[in-house]
Structure formats: C-alpha cells, structure tokens
Subunit: 349 residues, 2 copies
DNA sequence: AGTCTGGTGGCAATCGATTGCCACAGATGG
DNA sequence: CCATCTGTGGCAATCGATTGCCACCAGACT
C-alpha cells in the first residue's frame, strides 16, 4: 500500500501542453532570469498552467542538465557543542534564503570521518561546502582549494590560508581577558587549551603569550598547556594536572567554554573555589554559560554572525566573486561575569 | 579562474570504455544489488576501471532515472535548543550509515516556515522526512500521511496518529516527578508548560493532573498553566504570574528545561530560593542542566536514542515495512539533583 | 518594394545512469 | 542431432528540464 510513491507529478511537458506552447517555451517562461525572453501574454499563460497543475520542476532533471545541485554541505565537528548551534543556524538561514539546501554532516571530531564526509558531499555534487572542522593542515580540506566545490571555513582555518576563513577575533578577545585578569591583580596565569593542530588553539595561545609578555614588567607570567581535545574531560585533566604542578596559578584562561567547564570540575575536586581561589575565563560564550555557578566570564564571539558571514562568503564565491585572501575577522568581546575576581590575598606573591 | 568548475568527472561511459564493455554492463557490474548478474572476471575488470578513473556516479542522473534522491529532510523547531542536538545527531548518524544525506531545515518554531520547509524538502524530492516540529493538528504535516514522502515524527505527534511517532514516555517520567515531590512533602504543585497545540504539552500536562489526582487523598493538588511557547522567556512570565497568584505553591513541574530555566529567573526575581522555597523539576535533561545552580532535577529522555529510532523507523518505511500505528515510546527516567527538596516548614499547610 | 532587424517561439540535442528486452553462446537433455 | 535453457552482455529507450540554434513574423528603413 505504501508502494504508490511512483505517483509522479506534472512535468513541464504537461504545463506546456496546457498552455498550448512548446516545453522549451514553458521552461523559458518560468525562468525568472530571462525577463522578456517570452512575451508577457504567453508567459502568464504558462505561469497559470504551472500553478493550476501544481508544477514543481524536478531537481534531478534540472541538476543533470545545469550541473548545479542547489546543495551546500555543512561539515561540523560535533553538533552537541552548543557553540555550533547558532553558527549552523546562521549558515542554514542564509543559504536557504538564497535557495540552497543544507546537507549536514557531523564528524564527531574525527579526521577520518571528516574526510569521508567531504567525499560524500562531493559525490552528491554539493556546489559549496562550509567547513567548521578544519585542522591546520588537512590534506582533504586543502585539496578543496585546488579542485572540488567552493569551500569556506568557519572558525578553524588552514595554515596555508588556501581557503577563505571566517573567524572571530580571538586574539583581541583573549588579550582583553589577560588584561582583565592582570588588572584584577593576578600575576600567575595559565592557559589550558586544545590540540595544536587547530588554528583556533594557536591563535588563542599566541595571543595569551603575547599579552602576558606585554605585561611582563608588571610581573605577569603564563603557563600554557595543550590537551587532546576541546572537551570537558580534556579541561578536567588539564586543570587537575595544572593545579597540582602550579599551585601559584590564580587564574586560568581556558581555550574554550567546554574546557572551562572541565576546569570547574577540577577545582571543585581540589577543593578550590572559583573565583575565590582561582579565576576562570572561558571562550565562545556558548549558550547557558551565563547560568553556570559561577556565571562564566568568557570571550563572546558573534556566533550567529559567523555562520551568516560564512554563508555569504560562500554565496559570493558561487556567484563568481573573488574572495579576499585575508581571513574575515569578526569582533569579539570579553563578557565579565562572576568567575573572575581578585586573587586571594594570601597567595599574592 | 574559479570558473573551471565545469571539469566534469568520468562517466560510466568512460569506465565502460576502459573496461571494454557496454555502459549497461558497467552499470550492472557496479550494482552491488545484482550479484552474479555479470560474470566475475568482467565485473572485476569494470571495478578496476572505475577505481582507476576515480569514477563516482552522478547522483542527478541516477536520481532522474531511479526516482530516488538519497535525501532525507530533517525539520526541527530550533537548533539552539540543546535537547535537539543529540536527537539530530542520532538521526544524522543513522541515516548516513544507511547512505542517506540529511537536509536540515530549522523552522524557528514558526508554522509558516514549517510548511515552507516541508514544501521545499518535497520539491527537492526527499525520500523521507523526520519532523520534530509537528503541532497536534497541522494540515501541512497531516497531508504527508496521504501523499508525499514517507514521514516520521519525533517527540511531537499528531492528534490523528496518522503518522508514526517516536517519543519518550513523558507520562511515566512526569508521574515519577510528581510522586517524588509528593514524597518530599509538597502538597501544592504547579505545572508550567507550553502551548496546548503540542502533543508533548498535553501528554505531560495530563500525566501531571492524573498523578496528582491519584495522590489527592494525601492532599496533593496542582495548578496547570500554559504559555505561548517553550522558551526561557515563557517560563519566566509563567512563573512570575504563578508565584504571585499562588503563593501556596511550593513545587513546580516545568514542561521542559527551558521553561524551568525561566522559572529559576522568576524565583530569583521574587527573592525565592530554589529549592529552599520552591522546588523545581525540568524535563528533557538537556546538556548542562546538571551544572546549573541548583543542578536541575529533571526527567531525562533518551535523546540520542530518539533520533536513532526515528531514523530507523523511517528506514523501515522506506524499505517497505508497515509501521505500527502505535507510537514508539522510549523509557524516561527521573534524575534527582539539587533543585528539589522538602518544602519550607513554615509554609506547610 | 525589398531587405534588415528585433522579438518570439519551436526543434532537438543533451546531461548520465539505469533497465526492460533481446541476442548470442554454450550447455544440457531428449 | 535438434530443441531448450541458462548465463552473460548489448541495445536503446527513458527519466525531465534546459538551451543553442534556427525559423518565422511584423515592422521599419532605404
């Protein structure tokens, strides 16, 4: 009974017949990019016929002929990371408004799955790719600069800069975080972050180092530690090790909010209070971190705007525009909440 | 320079030529569902040729001929609702493993956009639809029971039951919540929830009422209030009104975790402590509610499993199986954390 | 009056894979 | 020795929309 899926809809031939014209005329009449190609009386007759029949062009047939699929692939590392939701939303909304469909692929942070996902999306003839999973050097992603569909990276860029990147101005945000902590009186900072093969990691780590160096005359120093990933568990491990190895540290700048969450766990475990004993700054301002205990001070990135801009850059490329080689950098902002405070007086060195 | 996208890949004709066979033979040799149709030596020659050329069949051409697109549409109300992320992940992973691509559509909780999204997904010839946005009576969704691609609903069902539904056993979870509160000593409960046109809302509300009624002999009563949506703001409004109109209420069962968050805001505003003054139970156990202050007691639903099962049911339908008319109900579990406690003695009636 | 031009619309090829039907060869059996 | 059968592969139609090219017509200009 559920076999009647073969009920095919009307074709352009049906429309043409009803309107009393040739199929090619019907096709042109319905093509909005050809204004005036078909005389108005004829065109409106065709439109009326199409409407009467409920005609919807077959995308497969159209795609076969035009070599365009109307599809864009969106490759993300982990949908359950709340920071990605607004980004994907921005991408989807912008692309949909432009008539593209979004094929979603979650790689679970696995390079092998990323490569498979890109291959699959290519096989499906996506016209463009929005990639949020890129590692600094990734053969699969780099190849897209040479062949394959147009690709735009969000947040995570390539060392070679071979593909357009839309990212937040992490450096500025992180520098603000370091200055904020220094101004509160902290002198021994730590930066706990993710793996070195992600551009976000190195950008943020470099910014932490540089802004600490700029404050060296005030006695500020920083220890940087890299973990295997950007997860709560990674943050937990990193912070546990740090707190025992470097008891002098009174403030942590986390590589992202997930790591910050892990830091909170480690502090609780060690009997340290935040911000009483150790201050903490996150990164990304993902949803709900303002409702944590303590509400997290963090570097806010324009999540939705990142998605929107990435989609816009992609649309530009698809329209033939040449994109700037420089990454498109969107402003960040340090959001000060309750997880940062002056260091405990007793510890002050 | 970015204009060489016309570089078409090899076609089955090229493969056939290289293997020295007819294209139709090549097609059959590459079709895994036709074992033995082509003699093994020939078939392996074709496979070698395909591999050597890096042949990838053109989905448009295949789709045109076979009337199958390999696409499934996923319609969700709001990607930034964390409860959806694991569901979508489960759907995507299961569908991908079965060879389908996921076209994502976010409706922003807007029925008009839902209808548009469904129409678009149909126009793109999706073979199936996973819909998480259904209202109890929705012409656009109901029509899918009669025509259009196979559809499966997640979480939110239709009154008519015309489409298969995969949902959590809310009734059981909510009943456990009510019993938990009653056991703690609460007598005046409230249920603050979403709009009546969502099946989840009525399921949960009914379960609250019924389990309260079962405890009526113990003096338990409940007031139920419906809001416009399932957002934090809705919860906030609802709770503010409730707390002033019903000061006797000492425990709130929220329709979902977002509403619970809003309740927390309203309590803070009213100078009430949770759980000191008012206890609170959420629903869904979305990510991070265990890290709130206070950690939220909530009804956990098997989020990822819901997505997986929904995808499996859809795959079954696509394979021609007849699906049960009864909704597929997955077990829930009350997760007791810190937002529930005995009522303040002073208030006890 | 003849030719040119611009505006419309039709014709047919084309995109690439699939599949119903047919043909041929070799094997089997009567 | 012929008829039938089975296994293998080829032929050509087909899916539906698009588009390069051509044809026709009316009006305009010389």
């Amino acid at each position: 009974m559920a076999r009647d899926a073969a009920a095919r809809g009307p074709t352009i031939r049906d429309v043409a017949a009803l309107a009393g014209v040739h199929p090619s005329t019907a096709s042109r009449a319905l093509d909005a990019s050809l204004p005036g190609r078909i005389a108005e009386p004829t065109a409106s007759r065709v439109r009326a016929a199409a409407h009467a029949l409920g005609y919807v062009p077959d995308p497969a047939a159209r795609s076969l002929r035009t070599r365009r699929s109307g599809l864009v692939g969106v490759v993300i590392p982990d949908l359950t990371n709340p920071v990605l939701a607004p980004i994907v939303q921005g991408v989807e909304e912008t692309l949909r408004a432009a008539g593209f469909g979004c094929l979603l692929a979650d790689t679970d942070n696995d390079p092998a799955r990323e490569e498979a996902a890109i291959a699959d999306l290519e096989a499906r003839r996506c016209e463009g790719l929005v990639i949020a999973t890129a590692r600094r050097r990734s053969a699969a992603v780099e190849r897209l600069a040479k062949s394959g569909p147009a690709a735009v990276l969000v947040t995570r860029g390539l060392d070679t800069g071979a593909l357009p990147l839309v990212a937040a101005d992490d450096a500025q945000g992180v520098a603000a975080a370091v200055r904020h902590l220094a101004a509160l009186g902290h002198r021994h900072l730590a930066h706990l972050t993710g793996p070195r093969d992600l551009s976000t990691t190195v950008r943020r780590a470099r910014a932490v180092r540089e802004s600490a160096k700029a404050l060296k005359s005030s006695g500020v120093d920083v220890v940087v530690r890299h973990g295997a990933g950007f997860t709560i568990a990674d943050g937990h491990r990193l912070a546990r090790a740090l707190l025992s190895a470097h008891p002098e540290v009174t403030a942590i700048v986390a590589g992202n909010d997930m790591i910050a969450l892990g830091c909170l766990d480690a502090m609780a475990e060690a009997g340290l209070r935040c911000p009483g004993d150790v201050s903490l700054v996150g990164h990304n301002d993902m949803p709900f971190v303002d409702r944590l205990e303590p509400a997290l001070t963090t570097v806010a990135i324009p999540q939705r705007a990142l998605g929107v801009r990435a989609a816009e850059v992609l649309l530009g490329r698809l329209a033939g525009e040449t994109v700037a080689a420089e990454p498109l950098v969107l402003p960040t902002e340090l959001v000060v909440r309750r997880s940062t405070a002056p260091p405990p007086a007793a510890r002050r060195s």
